[in-house]
Subunit: 396 residues, 2 copies
């Protein structure tokens, strides 16, 4: 049984001073049900993707708060799923499985995170709990530090100098911010010159050598939500329909620093993308637009390789030859991505699904990729331990 998306919502992303985790969740749920055309009573289950309501907001057990969206949701099953920064896509996966089980028809999926309630040091500490804490977070590794391990591993494996890496990554930073300029919901609306971001500057310091501030995604508040239903029902009630053609979820060792998995490629993410494409009977050449997990610029570089847009060690070619820009072979992160759109961690996977679906519907939030019929999302948790790739296809 196939599952499609019939309702969408995406909040503004950023430091949302007037919003709480509660107001973000309720607004996202209410607006998405309205957008779906269903009545609240028609929602059979609610899934909430949230990374650390406990750490950021002293609120675990956030899922039943969805009952506040509408009294008709009382006694419906509400479930929180958490897989670090891939919590949102995991919530979509679980809702999809619930529909495919035949037990329910319609599910509301909300991704939400309120991070700016803590100061930067607190945010860093909460995020570090998504690493293998005894050997990583607990030994002083921040997430920039963990992805710096990939950057160092990549340089070592392929013989790049730091300056060469910085040059490659600068293209990715510039593209992200340029794309975000057109996205009204993006956290940052600032363009950068490559000459500025490819070197250390007073306002572009090293965060975790070799990663600079301009290589890091943002600390954000935000929410995104979808209503899922059977494709049969979606086709019956909607003029335009996007189906979840496939969704693949892979896990890997939690730790990157222990050396149990390579630090120069995203092996499990690659496996997820390959499975998602195989299950959709597609190759990467069939994909017209992608929103992927650029938590750091090095991550996006490695994702180009995981997607098969370039050979291993040559990811840079995908951006150098223009492929990943809007107008290119396969635009990547036309929204501005985690780097410039923002990264409310538990919401990010749902955000990606909303952004791609809206592209395929011709209603892009920000830059529209023309005639896009099929799109890819890749959502990563931790330093690559959780990986979820989806292929979304416009079927009507």
């Amino acid at each position: 049984m196939a599952v499609s998306m019939i309702g969408f919502y995406h909040s503004k992303v950023g430091k949302l001073e007037n919003e709480t985790i509660y107001s973000l969740l309720v607004e996202a749920g209410r607006r998405t049900i309205e957008d779906s055309g269903l009545e609240p009573k028609d929602i059979d289950a609610i899934y909430v993707g949230n990374y650390s309501g406990g750490g950021f907001n002293k609120q675990e057990h956030i899922a039943p708060f969805a009952v506040e969206i509408h009294p008709d949701l009382r006694f419906k099953p509400c479930t929180r799923v958490e897989n670090a920064c891939a919590s949102g896509s995991t919530a979509i996966e679980q809702a999809m499985l619930a529909i495919e089980s035949g037990r329910i028809k319609n599910a509301l999926v909300i991704g939400v995170e309120k991070m700016t309630s803590l100061k930067t040091a607190g945010v860093t500490e909460v995020l570090a709990m998504a690493s293998y804490y005894p050997e990583e977070g607990g030994k002083g590794y921040s997430f920039p530090g963990l992805y710096a391990e990939y950057a160092k591993g990549y340089m070592a494996k392929y013989g790049y100098s730091k300056e060469e890496l910085w040059d490659m990554l600068s293209y990715i930073t510039v593209k992200a911010h340029k794309n975000a300029m057109a996205n009204p919901l993006a956290q940052m609306h600032v363009e950068y010159e490559r000459e500025y971001v490819r070197t250390i500057q007073e306002k572009n310091p090293l965060i975790a050598d070799p990663l600079k501030l301009s290589d890091c995604s943002l600390v954000s508040d935000g929410a995104a939500a979808v209503v899922l239903t059977t494709t049969e029902r979606a086709l019956a009630i909607k003029d335009k329909v996007v189906e979840i053609k496939s969704l693949a979820h892979t896990s890997d060792y939690l730790s990157i620093v222990e050396g149990k998995r390579p630090n120069y490629k995203l092996e499990a993410a690659q496996a997820a993308i390959q499975r998602a494409l195989r299950d959709a009977n597609m190759t990467i050449n069939d994909i017209n637009v992608a929103e992927v997990h650029d938590c750091f610029t090095i991550t996006e570089l490695l994702i180009y390789e995981a997607m098969g847009l370039a050979e291993e060690g040559r990811g840079f070619e995908a951006i150098k030859n223009g492929d990943v820009y809007v107008g290119g072979r396969l635009p990547v992160n036309p929204s501005g991505g985690l780097k410039a759109k923002g990264h409310p961690v538990g919401a990010t996977g749902v955000s990606m699904h909303v952004l791609i679906a809206k592209q395929l519907l011709g209603e892009a939030i920000g830059l529209q990729v023309e005639n896009a019929k099929a799109g890819l999302t890749l959502n990563i948790g931790g330093s690559g331990a959780t990986n979820i790739a989806s292929v979304l296809v416009r079927i009507k």
Copy 2:
């Protein structure tokens, strides 16, 4: 498609000084796969029920750690679900839905919590995050305080004095500890006299008026796990099979103190039990054994009423007339329950499923209820906001 249980594990419960959240998870997973007779490569997905690895252990994103159980689990989908103290049953629910979707055949479900890494004040603070924090935990309500609201609501609704309530609850405490004496995995092996627990004593102080220490469940470390598969496959490979005949999940307003839901009955828990019985084509009279969420003695009293063992306001009759003792009409918590077996919160729901399945297989952990063919679990999260009831049936 029906789902059955083919592998089981239950750890010792208590202050497990030599165990970590990691060692508990890996041991539970390894032992359960062995018990199932499957090979690790046959496990298609792993679900982890855990309440607050972040709060207790600084470890969110615990699910992919399951890859450490065996290298053949690498690239399998690992998912953590969290619904407060009902996290374990939610994990079983999601694994069941995944199998019913037809996408997977075999799922490993692990419930795990390591609470004693914090001192009592820290544990109380982490648990308070399962309440509606702005109006409850953040205003000083502990979980004993929240369930004291039920105790006060119950006394007010039905006109009981505190002494009358204490008398009723004392029977429940005594039963729990008596049953736990036979359970080798239980945290406490101490019997109490009713005369002692029904009054305030030096070592039985008020915790949250009217609840005394003897009314409260324990702070525990522990893990439990099951392997689920299709009933078809279970029947093919096992001599004895327990099926999940039904599972019902209801949610309610997160807060009890705001007055949006009654404080003298467990309305959403009752709805879950009724749905589970209805879906199994049974009444409570068809159930031979139950493990239910006695996080406090008042909760078990209210559960008797939610189960239909007594009329509202008359729950006490179910224990006074002997129904809920081993040997009675419907033994409740023959394991000793959360009160005496212990309550490693994220593991508790899985523990209940293991305990009931083992009863039905004639391999009880502790007291055996003779000729039990059908059993009920009821797992509650927060102060009644999440409720999951299962009916398990021996089918071979």
